[in-house]
């Protein structure tokens, strides 16, 4: 398995440096939660890490190689991203869409083989979309489309999973289910995940590490238990936060 690191990375939105000189190493087995208020550059950072956007300065390294110099097809076998929104303009079947995850693994004239098909079927089952194979993607609900996009990412089998608000549109059960699956990917398959999240408690419960973006260029990163406390969250969200002790550890709520 591979690791992804940032070397002096600057992320800029509309001329403002929202992330300054980020030094970060994502290692196999780690599940990072990316926290920060709206519009702070979480998505832009994920895009830089996936090679979709160019950072304002610095480099993103896969192992020791600059990802901007890697062929896209090769990069896509190692780094995958769940986008915040998925819009399907053209109709397609659910299974066919999940199979697009195999695209970077196949040559020009290759067709998907039985193994690829099995991977797609398994992934659909994992996200609870078994029996949806021949349904049309334009008819899916928001949450179903979200789970299909995640299944496609599983089918892609990247070493590094970048997830932009993976729990968007999902009900309580599916939120927990998808977070469990991401954790399983990191713990059992030795992959690495970095997920932008707005739910601090999902982050507290599932993430091994936390990266916080404050918006003025400052950031801090480290193991989850060291990072999450009332004062840092209050500073992060500019909102009073109350810590409540649950059976499974501390949980955080807006105070008042």
């Amino acid at each position: 398995m591979t690791d992804l690191s940032c070397d002096g990375l600057d992320v800029r939105i509309a001329g403002i440096n929202v992330v300054d000189n980020l030094e970060l190493k994502l290692e196999p087995g780690q599940f990072w939660g990316l926290l920060g208020p709206n519009g702070i550059g979480k998505t832009t950072l994920l895009k830089c890490l996936s090679g979709i956007s160019e950072p304002a300065a610095g480099r993103v390294l896969l192992e020791k190689r600059d990802i901007s110099e890697l062929p896209r097809r090769l990069l896509a076998r190692h780094v995958g991203m769940l986008q915040q929104h998925t819009v399907y303009v053209f109709d397609s079947r659910v299974l066919q869409t999940a199979l697009t995850g195999r695209h970077p693994h196949l040559g020009y004239w290759d067709r998907e083989g039985p193994e690829d098909l099995q991977k797609a079927v398994d992934a659909l089952q994992a996200v609870g979309l078994e029996g949806f194979s021949e349904r049309s993607v334009t008819g899916l609900s928001g949450g179903e489309a979200r789970r299909l996009a995640f299944a496609t990412l599983l089918v892609q089998e990247p070493d590094i999973l970048l997830l932009d608000e993976p729990t968007n549109h999902l009900d309580l059960r599916h939120q927990v289910q998808i977070m469990k699956m991401i954790r399983e990917q990191t713990r059992e398959c030795g992959r690495t995940a970095l997920a932008a999240l707005h739910d601090i408690n999902l982050a507290a419960r599932f993430c091994s590490h936390i990266l916080m973006l404050f918006g003025d260029g400052e950031w801090c990163a480290g193991p989850g238990e060291d990072m999450l406390d009332e004062s840092s969250l209050e500073r992060l969200y500019r909102c009073p936060v109350e810590q409540v002790q649950s059976r499974n550890g501390p949980r955080y709520y807006p105070a008042g």
Partner: protein, 327 residues
């Protein structure tokens, strides 16, 4: 997903139907050949009927098939390129340039044999204009390409209206037929068939990439496609297909919009099935339309562009309605 056996059956049926369509086209017209007469004519090209079949009807039927396939393939590509189901082969102004050049040639009394070359030149000028203006400095932008293309097309349309207004009355009818799309004088040059075959093979090779591209540029990049190169390649291929079709038969409307949609409804959106199905069906559809155009009011001939729309609209609405019911 379509099982391989179904795909094969579909392609074989479309090939057989295409051949049958071409055969029927060569048998019908103002002189209708019984099928024995038709066989005789086929075997003796020197006879009166043989001349009719081999020298007049066959080239025209083959031209119709080729143009139909060119336009349908181009339509499929344009729709993916612009991620817009309303895109057709003419949307980016390729045919506008061709029309202007051809009509200018007609006004100036250029020999009919030179018109296809003029049409090609006009298309090329339009392709180069749109390509260089839309490319700009930054990354690919579908919106910018669409706007550049649509505005360029409007510019050509204005110039065409000007020519129609100023042109001599005697050539107006010919101009109008050309603008609607007409196969009366169409021949199928070998380079057009070669272009179709070559681009078809290239498209089949990148069919899976097109599937991914249809899901959006960012998604395609995340799945490993170098989209910048791919999108410009698709633009160029689609434009060349359109230019080739237009130079043979003028602006035959509707085929390039409707056939890709019809095939999406019938075979789904996997381009590995969709592209061959659309090309084959597009050819068949235009052969049948042209046969109708020659026979409905025989001995008068209609421009085939009128028939494609008159046939295509109800066929499309019917299938769309059935697809809705099924869902």
């Amino acid at each position: 997903m379509m099982p391989t056996a179904h795909r094969r059956l579909l392609f074989i049926s479309l090939v057989i139907l295409s051949l049958a369509g071409i055969a029927m086209a060569t048998a019908s017209g103002s002189v209708i050949l019984e099928w024995k007469q038709w066989l005789m004519a086929l075997s003796s090209p020197q006879s009166e009927h043989g001349e009719l079949v081999w020298r007049l009807r066959m080239p025209r039927a083959l031209a119709a098939w080729t143009v139909g396939a060119l336009l349908s393939l181009s339509g499929c590509l344009m729709q993916v390129l612009l991620r817009n189901p309303l895109a057709d082969p003419y949307i980016l102004g390729v045919s506008g340039g061709a029309s202007f050049a051809t009509l200018l040639g007609m006004t100036l009394g250029v020999a009919a044999g030179m018109l296809p070359a003029l049409a090609w030149t006009g298309s090329l000028v339009s392709i180069v204009i749109v390509f260089s203006l839309a490319r700009g400095e930054g990354p690919w932008s579908g919106t910018r390409l669409l706007l550049t293309g649509v505005v360029t097309a409007s510019g050509w349309a204005a110039l065409i209206s000007l020519l129609l207004t100023l042109g001599p009355d005697g050539s107006l009818r010919g101009m109008l037929f050309w603008l609607i799309g007409d196969l009366s004088y169409a021949r199928v040059p070998i380079w057009a068939v070669t272009t179709l075959a070559l681009i078809f093979v290239v498209c089949l090779g990148m069919a899976r990439s097109l599937n991914v591209l249809a899901m959006g540029e960012t998604t395609a990049r995340l799945l490993g496609e170098p989209t910048q190169k791919l999108l410009w390649l698709v633009y160029l291929l689609a434009s060349i297909l359109t230019a080739t079709a237009v130079s043979i038969a003028g602006n035959i409307g509707f085929v390039g919009l409707i056939v890709p949609h019809l095939m999406r409804l019938l075979v789904g959106s996997d381009h590995r099935t969709l592209l061959p199905a659309a090309a084959l069906f597009g050819g068949l559809f235009l052969v049948l339309s042209d046969t109708l155009a020659r026979t409905v009011l025989a001995p008068r001939q209609l421009p085939v562009g009128v028939v494609t729309a008159l046939l295509g609209v109800p066929l499309f609405l019917l299938l769309l309605n059935r697809a809705k019911v099924r869902q």
